[in-house]
Symmetry: C2
Subunit: 334 residues, 2 copies
DNA sequence: TTGTAGGCGTTATCAC
DNA sequence: GTGATAACGCCTACAA
């Protein structure tokens, strides 16, 4: 593999000139530059990013930590990051945490080890080394996305999950439903607690009395939605609507209701959150609160870039908007 | 940020000993090692991967190139890679190509620039520098996944798309359907051509005469499935089954049929391919040919690891199995 | 078992 | 405008 020295020889200049030609072409005589570029081409030279990074103390890459990537919400998030990163010549590394502290820490080692300049986290955990750190005084290139239950004062971007969930509840209430069930998420997540809070808030605002028995646990997966539905049906308590903490579960819910011969929305209305692509093509189309995850990714990456420019004054928090998308899974009560 | 020299001083040993302690602990006296580790802890030292990589000529990371990551098939693939990579202390970088040669090349620059040791590609394109290269004589750390229309003799892992598609067609034929429609993919992809071929093969094997008018274009997205269905319905040619080149389109198809008041499977049977998680929870559950993408990722990563060990004798091709999963979207013709 | 020292490929600071 | 040259932080013969 050709290195800068080879190019220098081949072009009959010094390595300094080669380096200059590549990074600050304006500082070099055009004809010299031409010679250099020819050598670069003919030897198909590529600057060694390791060496370059070692010298400049940056790798031009970020690592993004997510619990898993198979959920469309997560993959949209990653895609958003990649888009902005690419525009800015930054590479994206992927770290899957499975929600485990240990894996997150292992990924964080990459920024400690200079293989990444910073980390964007969509996870409940915070890397161990960052946890007990006064971020005010010792700036840390870590951006938080969506989760925010930590005390760490890190830049973050998120949704207003409370109001977003309230919006779904409000919609259901206004359709005349009073016997409302709910399929929850994972109680350890702040996001889940907020969405729960939002559902309750939205219902109460419309004067609906909540039947706690109908508020059941979920787990954010298709399977958990199906399971929760079976449980709800087994209770033998009448209900006419189900608020789901995300679309994935809502799809599982609708599927299970259909299997049980219960019509959506004639018998039961169902709402989701996230507005995944699949929501639109569910049967029936799923009413959902749109929370565009790719925007979160984009904003998070932008915060990271801001941080690079000025660690001290980078924005501390960005809250993105949400929107109710009404489809055919919800209807006025008979 | 503490470096190896700081640790050496702090522990009262040479930097060589520190390095040894970290990489080959057995070559160092236990008490010395202990001193070193204490210094490491107290200064919270992390070896600089850039420097280390520069010296050892490896980065312990691979870059995976995919057209996009929002499709569950793709994200499953990436997840598979990450799993095996992590087990082996390898980091995964993500490169989104949007199917564009230019973006792929840009990502490939990372392996040329030593930021990645190799590349795993799930895309039709081949990096420019690799394209016209005799891989036999100049080994190249590139693994191909699923696509294989190139002449490049690179290690690859894929499915037998022809037989997989034939399996779906066979299933439909055996249910008594003779008027069979098909929603295709993207003709420029070898995968798509193979699945087409497979459908036709499967139907012919059962003696079914194909109505070419009912074989329409798709595009592998939910939307394209919906659009193709509307088109099929507009033709006003009777059919009782639709073979879809993937699940995503099949979900769009089912949704659109339902909207048009056509019952699945009573009026029309529908099959998909890939067996995404969503297939099971479609309404009705989607009959599909399982092509576990995470296995492709895992195998691809394994091929990469093999390649590291011995570029010359690494396996050239792995073909993974498929399986028909029968659900409720297909039924015997009335 | 430990230490010395050369070099990995760049970039950036100097002189010229 | 260009060229020497000293880092960047680490690994690994080789020497002790």
């Amino acid at each position: 593999m050709a290195n800068i020295k080879d190019i220098a020889e081949h072009a009959g200049v010094s390595i300094a000139t080669v380096s200059r030609t590549l990074r600050e072409p304006h500082k070099v005589k055009p004809e010299t530059a031409k010679k250099v570029m020819e050598a670069v081409d003919s030897l198909s030279y590529r600057t060694n990013m390791l060496a370059s990074g070692l010298r400049t103390q940056r790798s031009d890459s970020v690592i993004v930590a997510v619990p898993d990537i198979s959920n469309p919400f997560t993959s949209g998030f990653v895609q958003g990051i990649e888009n902005i990163a690419r525009e800015n010549g930054i590479k994206v590394m992927l770290g899957i945490t499975e929600g485990k502290q240990e894996l997150l820490d292992r990924h964080y080692a990459m920024v400690a080890g200079k293989q990444a300049d910073g980390m964007i986290i969509l996870d409940t955990n915070i890397p161990g080394p960052v946890k007990h750190l006064d971020v005010q005084t010792s700036p840390t290139p870590v951006i938080l996305a969506c989760e925010y239950n930590s005390n760490a004062q890190l830049p973050r971007v998120r949704f207003d999950n409370i109001e977003a969930a309230a919006l779904a509840a409000d919609h259901i209430a206004k359709l005349g439903h009073t016997k409302v069930a709910c399929v929850g998420g994972v109680a350890s997540l702040q996001m889940s607690r907020d969405r729960q809070k939002g559902f309750r808030l939205g219902l109460r605002r419309q004067g609906i009395i909540i039947n706690e028995t109908l508020f059941v646990e979920g787990g954010y997966t298709l399977e958990s939605g199906a399971k929760a539905t079976k449980y709800l049906l087994s209770l033998d308590i009448p209900f006419t609507a189900i608020l789901c903490e995300n679309d994935e579960m809502a799809i599982g819910v609708i599927h299970t209701l259909a299997k049980a011969g219960i019509r959506v929305p004639e018998d039961v209305s169902v709402t989701g959150m996230d507005n995944l692509r699949y929501a639109e093509y569910a049967n029936p189309g799923l009413t959902s609160v749109a929370l565009p995850s790719s925007l979160v990714g984009e904003q998070a990456m932008r915060l990271m870039l801001d941080y690079y420019i000025d660690p001290a004054s980078s924005v501390r928090e960005v809250v993105l908007g949400h929107e109710l998308v009404i489809r055919n899974s919800t209807a006025h009560i008979n």
